[in-house]
Amino acid sequence: MSLLSLESARPRSRPADRPAARPGRLRVPWRAASPLALLVLWQLASSTGVLAERLLPAPAAIASTAAELFESGVLTDAIGVSLQRAVIGFAVGAAAGIGLAVLAALSRFGEHAVDPPMQMLRALPLFGLIPLFILWFGIGETPKIALVAFGVAFPLYLNTFAGIRGVDRKLAEVGQVLRLGRAGLIRHIVLPGALPQVLVGLRQSLGVAWLALIVAEQINASQGLGFMINDAREFLRTDVVVLGLLVYAALGLITDGIVRLVERRALTWRGGLLGA
């Protein structure tokens, strides 16, 4: 609590200096404080009966359910199945989105051939496609993977295209003067120059990927996290439903964290002094 009083005692004392003076040390506990407080409040409300078990079970109850399902293998199996759908769908969508964007951005012909249909398809509502995908691909794994792939492709396509087209023309001239050739220009100037924007697209598309997966798994599934949640609903197991949601959230956070890690590694040059 001494930190709190220190903070409030000098609210305007050069705030910019503080993180630099103590990097990281102050921030982490502070950011963790409010979620922890909420968790405690939640547990208290459940324990005292203010919050009905049927509406929202206590954190402790959810934790024990998690342990139970983990031990029986139900949870790990469900995560495995969902993760597999997400990874395959993401890989297919990312390859298509980035590949088509490179094609469209690097040549006029490619742009005319690829961009108009992509812009048209982009206008289609992602979840409106579900009935069509079920008609086309049945109710197995394919429609779910296809939905994820479709959702992933567009943010990556748009951002990669914009990233490549946004590469500084002056740097392209440097490549010309240094006689890099077309392949060298793409390798040394164009693709690295587009990377920051591609990474933005990557984060956007990961968000879409999880969303598409969750929706697809809700519609019909005989395994996976969505199935686990739906099945639990039938038996009024709110704790399992909440657990499923928490797992989705955790998976989303983990993948976002991975991209941020990649970002930090790939974009060290932006940090300037840090990389020197």
Binding site: V174, V177, L178, R179, A276
Partner: protein, 245 residues
């Protein structure tokens, strides 16, 4: 200090430009321009904005191929731009080695950085360099290619006055060691007089004036002959002296 040799004049020149013409729609930017630069000669090109300086430079650099006339350049062309244009996602040494076609590009880059006094900054990211350091890295990247023609596009104009003086010395030093032909495009009459063997004035797409500077280097801007040439050049550029000489 007089290092110019008569022999070089008889060889094929570094640059021979004949009737170079460039039009943007109705506007003629280069109007049948003729230019000859001897091997190892240091030429400064002065001109007001819009006189066609950058267009000429872009044509010589091969960045604009949509020009009429003849363009003969002996050896490779290297450019140091006004902004250093280092590739920000390649470390300084990799920038110097970029596209370098020699057996050991890294070693060549290291030597080139040593020459411009940037040995310790080879592993730095370009964005962490100061303006002067970045411009020196840019010079190293140009010179490591042992160019027959070095194009300098106002490379010192964004630097502070003190850094600019250091850079002038560095450029002369590097030029005397490597002896490329140099075309320095600049707004700065003093800079042209301090560095060049020959100063050209470009106006409306033609070279309208030419001055030889025979003063031995290093030159001082207060030297009487340079002062006289300065007045002449300023008059050519349309700047009239105000009262004092």
């Amino acid at each position: 200090m007089a290092r110019r040799t008569a022999g070089s004049v008889t060889e094929a020149p570094a640059v021979r430009v004949g009737s170079l013409t460039k039009r943007f729609g109705e506007r003629t930017v280069l109007d049948g321009l003729d230019l000859r630069i001897e091997r190892g000669e240091f030429v400064a090109l002065l001109g007001r904005s819009g006189s066609g300086k950058s267009t000429l430079l872009r044509a010589l650099a091969g960045l604009d191929r949509d020009v009429d006339g003849t363009l003969d350049i002996d050896g490779t062309v290297a450019v140091a731009f006004q902004e250093p244009r280092l590739v920000p996602w390649r470390r300084v040494r990799a920038n110097v080695a970029l596209g370098l076609d020699v057996p050991d590009p890294r070693a060549a880059a290291r030597d080139a950085l040593a020459e411009v006094g940037l040995t310790e900054r080879g592993d730095a990211w370009p964005l962490s360099l100061s303006g002067g350091e970045a411009q020196r890295a840019s010079l190293a990247r140009a010179l490591v290619r042992e160019p027959g023609l070095l194009l300098l596009d106002e490379p010192f104009s964004a630097l502070d006055a003190l850094t600019r003086i250091t850079m002038h010395r560095l450029v002369l030093d590097l030029w005397e060691r490597h002896r490329p032909a140099v075309l320095l495009v600049t707004h700065d009459v003093d800079e042209a007089l301090l560095l060049a063997d020959r100063v050209l004035v470009l106006d409306e797409g033609r070279i309208v004036h030419e001055t030889r500077v025979t003063e031995p280097r290093p030159r001082h801007r207060d030297h009487r002959e340079l002062s006289r040439l300065r007045s002449v050049l300023l008059a050519e550029l349309g700047v009239t002296p105000e009262g004092t000489t």
